[in-house]
């Protein structure tokens, strides 16, 4: 039916780069010891060196220092660690109030909801029709007992980028800690912690052609953070559990391989996709902000048709994309992001997210837009809402 799958769901996960695999391999087969102290045996010392070198690579990507990077099992753990760790450390000193945005990914949103259930106070800040956080509302919601503000850098579904500087400075002025989930912007949109006063940053390797199950949390020196998972004294006693050294090394390699040129390439694929769809398919809406968005994300609603029907037709033709339709999700709930930007069920129902990666090409875009035209026409032909 078709030669290969064209994968355009790179915000869900990415294909591993062979160079990443090559960098990781020695830490599985040769230097497989746990990281020991400097008085341990040589294989452990070498393993430790690999880990620390990886830490330096991640740190320098943010203009941070190495001791400010904690390796984790991914973005979900990083965000849990940041939010639960700060709340635990500051509840007596500062208070039990936290602020998040309404369109956070589940790792932040459900952590906040869980804390709310346990009696903490949570405010959920609104976003505008393009997903941009209301800064006035944020200012007005910060209180004396606010322990933490957690607002994402880039949105997982619609790619909207927040003004990180503005949010960080508001928090700094009000003397509140600020955590951002940068899973979908890391290495695609630069962050410089020497200029932006953000206190914690969630990152993940799986969105940049690195290994799955590896992430990191940047923690600014001096940030009050209680250990939230009990166990050993790894990661300077901030994160218990055996260090995933091959994973950390792979993560660092993925960071080295992500270049500004690649970012521009992804941006060109994104813009070309949006342009062709808007030129060639009627009744479409771009979800998110046109310019303040991640370079790899195009999210478009095709009106009068349902998302899962589109993705299944595309799947049968060899394309992988995702949709915010309730019918596609495990919970059968429509995207909280599309509803959060004031869209109705219909807007979520027909939304398709295209996210690009290293292994995509302009030909892939041409192929999926051509397929999309046929699929949308076919489904609109049987839709009771489409005026034929």
């Amino acid at each position: 039916m078709f030669d290969k799958m064209i994968y355009l769901d790179n915000s869900a996960s990415t294909r591993l780069d062979e160079k990443v695999m090559d960098a990781m391999k020695p830490y599985y087969f040769d230097t497989y010891a746990v990281a020991t102290s400097e008085f341990g045996y040589s294989m452990g010392i070498e393993a430790k060196e690999g880990l620390e070198k990886a830490r330096e690579t991640i740190a320098s990507s943010l203009a941070a220092s190495a001791e400010e990077i904690v390796f984790t099992s991914g973005d979900t753990e990083s965000s849990n660690m940041a939010i639960k760790g700060v709340i635990a450390a500051l509840k007596k000193k500062k208070g039990e109030h936290i602020i998040v945005s309404k369109i956070e990914d589940f790792s932040v949103l459900n952590t906040a909801k869980n804390l709310e259930k346990k009696g903490y106070n949570v405010d959920y800040i609104s976003v505008d029709a393009e997903g941009i956080v209301d800064l006035d509302e944020l200012k007005s919601k910060i209180r004396d007992d606010t322990a933490l503000v957690s607002i994402q850098h880039a949105n997982q579904e619609i790619g909207t980028l927040q003004d990180l500087d503005a949010i960080a400075n508001i928090c700094k002025e009000k003397d509140v800690l600020f955590h951002t989930d940068a899973t979908h912007s890391y290495m695609r949109v630069p962050i410089d912690v020497s200029k932006t006063p953000v206190d914690m940053i969630t990152m993940s390797a799986h969105t940049i052609h690195g290994p799955r199950g590896v992430g990191a949390l940047y923690v600014r020196k001096g940030t009050a953070l209680e250990k939230w998972m009990d166990g050993g004294f790894q990661e300077a006693n901030r994160r218990a559990g055996l260090e995933n050294i091959p994973g950390a090394v792979g993560f660092a390699k993925a960071v080295e391989l992500a270049s500004p040129e690649e970012t521009e390439f992804l941006r060109s694929l994104r813009d070309y996709t949006i342009k062709r769809i808007f030129d060639e398919i009627p009744h479409v809406t771009l979800n998110g902000n046109k310019t303040q968005r991640t370079p790899q994300n195009a999210n478009i609603t095709f009106h009068y048709v349902e998302g899962e029907s589109m993705t299944l037709h595309l799947d049968m033709r060899g394309f992988a994309v995702s949709t915010g339709s309730a019918c596609f999700s495990r919970s059968l709930e429509a995207s909280h992001v599309i509803l959060g930007i004031g869209g109705d069920h219909e807007r979520a129902h027909g939304s398709i997210r295209f996210t690009f990666g290293r292994y995509n090409s302009k030909e892939d875009v041409d192929a999926i837009v051509d397929a999309m035209k046929e699929v949308v026409t076919q489904l609109r032909a049987i839709s009771p809402l489409f005026n034929k």
Binding site: M1, Y304, V305, E306, G307, E308, S309, L312, H313, D315, M316, S325, A326, C327, F328, R330, L332, E333, A334, L339, G342, D344, H345, E346, H349, A381, I382, S383, P384, L385
Partner: protein
Amino acid sequence: MKFPYTEKVLEHFKNPRNVGKLEEPDGKGLEGSPACGDMVAVYLQVNPDTLVIDDIKFESYGCASNIATASIITELAKGKTIEEAKKITWKEATEELGGLPPVKAHCSVLAVEGLRSAIRDYEEKHGLVSEKEPTTVDVIRSRLKHVMNPMAGLDIVRTELVTKIEVEEGVVRILLDLPSNHQFAAAIKEDLIEKIESLWDVTKVNVVFTE
């Protein structure tokens, strides 16, 4: 290739039978609403002497399960009398399709409801509703189960959006746990009135919001 559906579901999804609309249908059913999720329309042409469904068409604004079930339902119903067609169950339709993922049940139920409501429409228009049952709270509740809560993608009864139903001398009063200025208030109200006002003894529908 690994798809989440049976071969038969995929076949009906790719090549749905009896799609389109009848310009002057003898009976028409519309289930679901665009503000809330899936929607299916069923059109019938019925032989007035034999009450056999001569022609049937459907349109769908829905997912694969919805499209495939609607397609199979039209195949099952065509050539049957309306009495026989009424008895086609969701279970029969899904068995015919070789099964559907359980989580998709509500999408496919909508297609069965579409057929039933088209038949009911035919009967109401052609004076075939013999015994007119008075509208009770239970009747209202069962109809409200077809109104979706757009925040959850499930119906407004199951998601406890309906807090109270009162029926008194043709006036139906429905209390919703939703402020009147809510983003979906108007869409829910419209959908809800459409489901209730067609009942023969209902003269007025009042929807009461929390503020």
